[in-house]
């Protein structure tokens, strides 16, 4: 009898231990499920969106926001080059090639494929780039920064990061959804560029 009783205890003890392990595992899994459910539920982002601000004669600096990175158009420098050498109808900046069309009186702009200046990793350097384009960025009421943003989620995210950086420095920002990797025409009566904020 004693022997038999002992054998039952031997059998139930490992089962108890296994039950403990299973119960603990269920507890941990339940905890993980609750945390995941809360994370899914509370995954609400706030996005601040300003309205267009009417401006007159405000100077703007154009940037292209693509999935790869942000590139300055350096439009002023290109127009200066075109003006200085009217016989030559093309001018190149670091990232774009500008061509003046005589008949249509418009300037076309094509992106040159190269490594982007500003990426998601160094988005704060947009302020340094802006400082390079414009000596004084203190008089931030007289100018704004505009982005031509590629219709792409990565480009959208990059634009939002750059905009946040500029807003934190008190600079007005505008944007237009346009594909900067395609040929862009600069002419009167085109897509209006207005700051928001």
């Amino acid at each position: 009898m004693r022997r038999r009783k002992g054998s039952i205890d031997d059998l139930s003890n490992p089962l108890d231990c296994f039950l403990d392990v299973v119960c603990n595992l269920i507890g941990v899994l339940l905890l993980a499920a609750i945390i995941s459910a809360l994370a899914v539920k509370e995954n609400v982002y706030d996005v601040f969106t300003p309205v267009e601000q009417p401006t007159k004669g405000s100077r703007h600096y154009l940037f292209a926001a693509t999935p790869e990175g942000i590139y300055p158009f350096e439009k002023n420098a290109a127009y200066k080059k075109l003006k200085m050498n009217p016989a030559n109808h093309t001018a190149e900046t670091r990232y774009f090639r500008y061509t003046r069309e005589i008949e249509s009186k418009r300037t076309t702009c094509i992106m040159k494929k190269s490594f982007p200046l500003i990426t998601e990793m160094n988005v704060s350097t947009i302020m340094e780039e802006l400082q390079r384009l414009r000596k004084s960025i203190r008089d931030n009421d007289n100018f704004f920064v505009c982005f031509n943003v590629s219709p792409d989620e990565s480009a959208f995210r990059l634009f939002r990061l750059a905009r946040k950086e500029l807003w934190e420095n008190g600079i007005k920002v505008g944007w237009v959804p346009i594909d900067p990797e395609k040929k862009i025409f600069f002419q009167k009566g085109g897509l209006e560029i207005v700051p928001q904020g």
Partner: protein, 142 residues
């Protein structure tokens, strides 16, 4: 032996429960990883607004590939081309919201063409407009 066999149905239930919880965990982690239907609250940025004393009431327009959603009304590109009727719909929505109402266009990656109709309408009707790029999987929280 009787005691050990009494455990087995209970173990079955526990194992089944474990399976269900593991499944729930997998589904939740997948939805977190994929970022499906990320909930986003669009807040009007009120700095430098000329009507600071009034509260801003956005009339949301979601711009998608071949249509826009004006509040809960779907308007196709074809309907947007009928300019007078499209303008009327926007005016009605703005008037319904009352003072401080303005258009807030939320542009999906494939919706930049339909946005041009919305912006042109806002300009023609002299309605203030704000616009924001949104990802395809964003779900708006009002």
């Amino acid at each position: 032996m009787n005691r050990s066999s009494g455990f087995l149905p209970f173990m079955d239930i526990l194992t089944g429960l474990m399976g269900i919880i593991i499944l729930i965990n997998i589904v939740l982690s997948l939805s977190l990883a994929d970022g499906q239907d990320v909930k986003v609250k669009i807040i009007p940025k009120e700095e430098n607004i000329t009507w600071r004393d009034k509260s801003m009431k956005p009339v949301m327009v979601v711009c998608a590939s071949n249509h826009v959603m004006l509040q809960k009304t779907r308007i196709s590109t074809k309907q947007m081309k009928a300019r007078a009727r499209f303008h009327r719909k926007i005016t009605d929505a703005i008037e319904k919201r009352g003072d401080g109402a303005y258009l807030l266009a939320l542009i999906k990656p494939d919706g930049y063409r339909s946005f041009r109709y919305v912006r042109a309408a806002a300009k023609a009707l002299d309605i203030r407009i704000g616009y924001e790029p949104i990802d395809g999987n964003w779900e708006m929280v009002y």
